[in-house]
């Protein structure tokens, strides 16, 4: 419904949307922290600290060692921890995923890097049927403390098989935990929590965010800093509408909130951080306060994360709602390559603004 409305009203918005996307960046975030850190460094330092802390942590995947990761997330780790703990593998996603699962059964804490989550489809049986279920099927006798991490969601100019979001896929599976960091604090805290967690955790990173710098508090630089899995974070407080997002779309929502403020609309931005378990209480508390909710995600609409947020809003606080909840999502098509069509297939800041204004009758 929301999508159809967007399709009808979105043409004008699309014309200006790319400018906003390009302008998104850490300068929009107002915090009082003094240190800046890229998401890449945040992820890298998180793994470095956890490998130093626990000998059972090791990394495997394609190009993670000599090449230091396709996106350089494992930079310097081979030199520091050696080839037994930073392991380049043959090119078989199902192979190194299954080996990671088996090593986790045996008591290690593997970090399995997918070059991107697009390629995790070749290994999804190992993730869904083995990693997620073995603890249950063994009646709690065997844990599987493995981390699956890599770039998820839309990248730029790489089309249908390199540019898609698997959040809804993994977040639907009992036995998996799924987190999606947005900024440097999320990236450090969630990845460190994932590595320490006794269950299999899917860490959905975003390629476009890797090089972005964010302010980070001193506390988040502590080697024992973690972000609790299952808890959302209010990034910006507001009173008229709740914008719920994860990963890169949190930045879009923050930008939309700034634009809406200029129009007299106070938007609250909720960064989900975890998709499984999802923080129902935080979503419900915010919706009870603002009485309106819009979800924003890059993924496809049907059975998407936004669908779950709509369901939570309706199940938890139907009587508090002053307007039907709405979703802003990617178009329900494989990602096109042509630059104009790629932009048209993805949510843009203007879509969020337009959706909220219509919802507010502005």
């Amino acid at each position: 419904m929301a999508l159809r409305r967007l399709a009808l009203s979105g043409a004008a918005a699309l014309r200006t949307s790319q400018g906003h996307a390009a302008a998104l960046g850490p300068q929009l975030l107002r915090t009082y922290a003094s240190t800046q850190m890229t998401v890449r460094d945040a992820l890298n330092s998180a793994m470095d600290e956890e490998m130093a802390r626990d000998d059972s942590v090791f990394i495997m995947g394609e190009e993670v060692a000599e090449y230091q990761g396709a996106y350089k997330i494992t930079r310097g780790l081979l030199q520091k921890y050696g080839p037994k703990r930073v392991k380049d593998t043959p090119i078989t996603e199902a192979g190194f995923t299954g080996i990671g699962v088996g090593a986790a059964f045996a008591g290690l804490r593997p970090i399995v890097e997918f070059m991107t989550f697009n390629f995790s489809m070749q290994a999804i049986d190992q993730i869904v049927n083995s990693a997620a279920k073995h603890h249950y099927m063994s009646a709690g006798q065997v844990t599987c403390p493995v981390v699956f991490r890599g770039a998820n969601g839309a990248a730029a100019g790489v089309a249908a098989q390199h540019s898609q979001c698997f959040a809804a896929w993994y977040a639907s599976v009992p036995g998996l935990k799924v987190v999606a960091p947005y900024d440097a604090e999320d990236s450090r805290g969630l990845l460190k929590a994932a590595i320490r967690d006794p269950d299999p955790v899917v860490v959905l990173e975003n390629e476009i965010l890797y090089g972005e710098s964010f302010p980070i508090d001193e506390a988040a630089l502590d080697k024992d800093f973690t972000v609790p899995i299952g808890k959302a974070k209010v990034m910006r407080s507001g009173s008229d509408v709740t914008l719920v997002a994860f990963g890169k779309m949190v930045g879009y929502c923050l930008k939309a909130a700034e634009l809406l403020e200029q129009e007299g609309v106070s938007a609250e931005v909720l960064n989900l951080r975890s998709l499984k378990p999802i923080d129902r209480d935080a979503i419900a508390a915010s919706v009870r306060k603002t009485h309106r909710v819009v979800s924003v995600e890059e993924g496809w609409p049907q059975h998407g994360v936004g669908s779950e947020i709509m369901a939570i809003a309706i199940e938890e606080c139907f009587d508090d709602l002053d307007a039907p909840p709405e979703r802003v999502t990617g178009a329900e098509v494989p990602m096109p390559y042509a630059q104009n069509l790629e932009a048209a297939a993805l949510p843009q800041v203007d879509h969020v603004v337009a959706t909220v204004k219509r919802m507010m009758n502005k």
């Binding site: 090791f58 037994k84 392991k87 593998t89 043959p90 078989t92 199902a94 192979g95 190194f96 995923t97 299954g98 080996i99 990671g100 699962v101 088996g102 090593a103 986790a104 059964f105 045996a106 008591g107 290690l108 593997p110 049986d125 190992q126 049927n129 083995s130 073995h134 603890h135 249950y136 099927m137 063994s138 009646a139 709690g140 006798q141 065997v142 844990t143 009992p174 036995g175 935990k177 967690d197 006794p198 269950d199 299952g230 378990p277 999802i278 129902r280």
Partner: protein, 448 residues
């Protein structure tokens, strides 16, 4: 860069390959898992740029001839099948026996085979009577399960398929535990989660069964890699059928095991049939063993109906895996004498004569004959063992069927190591609902 890699690889292969299984016809490709497969034989003249090509994967000789290999061009003789006891149960003269079977072990192995046969017959009948949903027998393959299980150390970790119940029995899983599992009752160690014959026990280092075929093979490699990193001095043992060897996970597991140098024993039960698909439709080439050397893995084909041969092959494979920190592949040639499962009638797709011929070579009878020839067993002992097993199985089935089913609340346990709030809420909601509406819950589900 390439030159540096090639030089490094040559450096690692200096000297001869480690000796393969002494006394056994092991086909060792590059048994040490970290050596490239194309190592120069030491009898060749030293390599020069003229007669060899050095590349990052190894070193190969040049030839001016165009010699095709494989396929229809060069049908090779199949790898031979190692055995120590013939089809009639007589000792094969001059067989390589690097690990003589002690009497006590041999008798325990045979007694376990008798118990396994009895369980298979009576559990199969119980399923046909509708007492539980599903069953699979291992008849015809008892020697492969028991022979290999006896050669493993209890600390070795087993990742089996679903037709190796003999392995967990030999490790100490009781018939009562098996019955509890098939009935999925409250005493079942797996809390009634897994379908029948998907046994598992952490205490016995036997992972619960993964139904999607061959997924256990990469798991075993990962576990073996952990053992290697932590220098535990143990191996992982991975079991699978020749049909499962067509899965991508088989390739992934063998290639990773070789490149990681993982101490894992792959035990393929080539029983001729994948449900209704004969092995002749499953692959070309020399079976599963034929693939091992191509992966750089030490390989042996063994008579899967010869308990003593399987024992020796596995014990030697374990020695190789530990000493060389490398994988080993065994292909145990056997025959699935029973149906695939209780959902199958194999008389529809295979000849009665074929089944009769294989049953005449029954591995349990062969081993019994050999035991009798050693003077370690006799008819009276056999009758007593079979009667005792039959009593035990019948009692176990009755006790398991009488036992209550697992309570409702356990359904929500163990999804995660610690129950997250959303599952706590769902469990509380279900229990509150059942408390308010007792009729909503079937009588056979204990509420708590």
């Amino acid at each position: 860069m390439l030159a540096r890699c090639a030089a490094a690889l040559r450096g690692r292969t200096a000297g001869s390959l480690p000796a393969a299984a002494r006394g056994l016809a092991a086909s060792a490709g590059a048994a040490g898992g970290e050596q490239p497969p194309a190592a120069a034989p030491t009898s060749q003249p030293s390599s020069s740029q003229e007669d060899r090509m050095d590349f990052p994967g190894g070193s190969v000789p040049f030839t001016a001839g165009m010699d095709w290999h494989g396929g229809a061009f060069a049908p090779r003789a199949p790898l031979p099948c190692y055995r120590t006891i013939d089809a009639a149960g007589r000792e094969v003269p001059d067989a390589a026996i690097p690990h003589p079977l002690p009497r006590e072990t041999a008798v325990r192995m045979y007694e376990t085979m008798v118990r396994l046969q009895t369980v298979d017959v009576l559990f199969y009948e119980a399923q046909r009577q509708g007492r539980f949903s599903f069953y699979m027998t291992s008849s015809g393959e008892e020697a492969t399960a028991i022979g290999s299980a006896a050669a493993l150390h209890p600390d070795d970790v087993v990742f089996s398929q679903y037709r190796e119940q003999g392995v967990i029995m030999y490790r100490g899983f009781s018939i009562q535990n098996m019955a509890h599992q098939c009935f999925g009752n409250m005493h079942e160690q797996g809390k009634g989660r897994q379908m029948p014959i998907h046994y598992g026990s952490r205490e016995l280092n036997f992972h619960t069964i993964s139904s999607p075929l061959a997924t256990q093979l990469p798991h075993a490699v990962g576990a073996a890699y952990a053992m290697k990193l932590e220098q535990r001095g143990t191996v992982a043992a991975a079991y699978f059928g020749e049909g499962a060897a067509s899965e991508g996970d088989f390739h992934a597991a063998l290639n990773f095991a070789a490149t990681l140098g993982a101490p894992v024993i792959f035990v393929c039960r080539n029983n001729g049939w994948a449900i209704s698909t004969p092995a002749s439709d499953q692959y070309r080439g020399d079976g599963i063993a034929g693939r091992g050397p191509a992966y750089g893995i030490a390989t042996l084909r063994v008579d899967g109906g010869d308990t003593r041969a399987v024992y020796n092959a596995t014990a030697e494979a374990r020695r190789i895996a530990l000493e060389q920190q490398a994988p080993v592949l065994l292909e145990a040639m056997s025959y699935r004498s029973g149906h695939h499962s209780t959902s199958d009638d194999s008389s529809r797709y295979r000849a009665a004569e074929e089944m009769r011929a294989w049953r005449a070579r029954d591995p349990v009878s062969r081993f019994q004959r050999w035991l009798v020839d050693q003077g370690w067993w006799d008819d009276a002992a056999d009758t007593a063992a079979r009667q005792a097993a039959r009593r035990e199985v019948i009692q176990a089935l009755e006790a398991a069927q009488r036992a209550p089913k697992p309570p409702l609340s356990t359904m929500f346990e163990d999804v995660y190591a610690r129950m997250p709030p959303h599952l706590e809420a769902q469990r509380a909601e279900v229990l509150a609902h059942v408390a308010a509406h007792p009729d909503a819950c079937p009588a056979d589900i204990p509420v708590k």
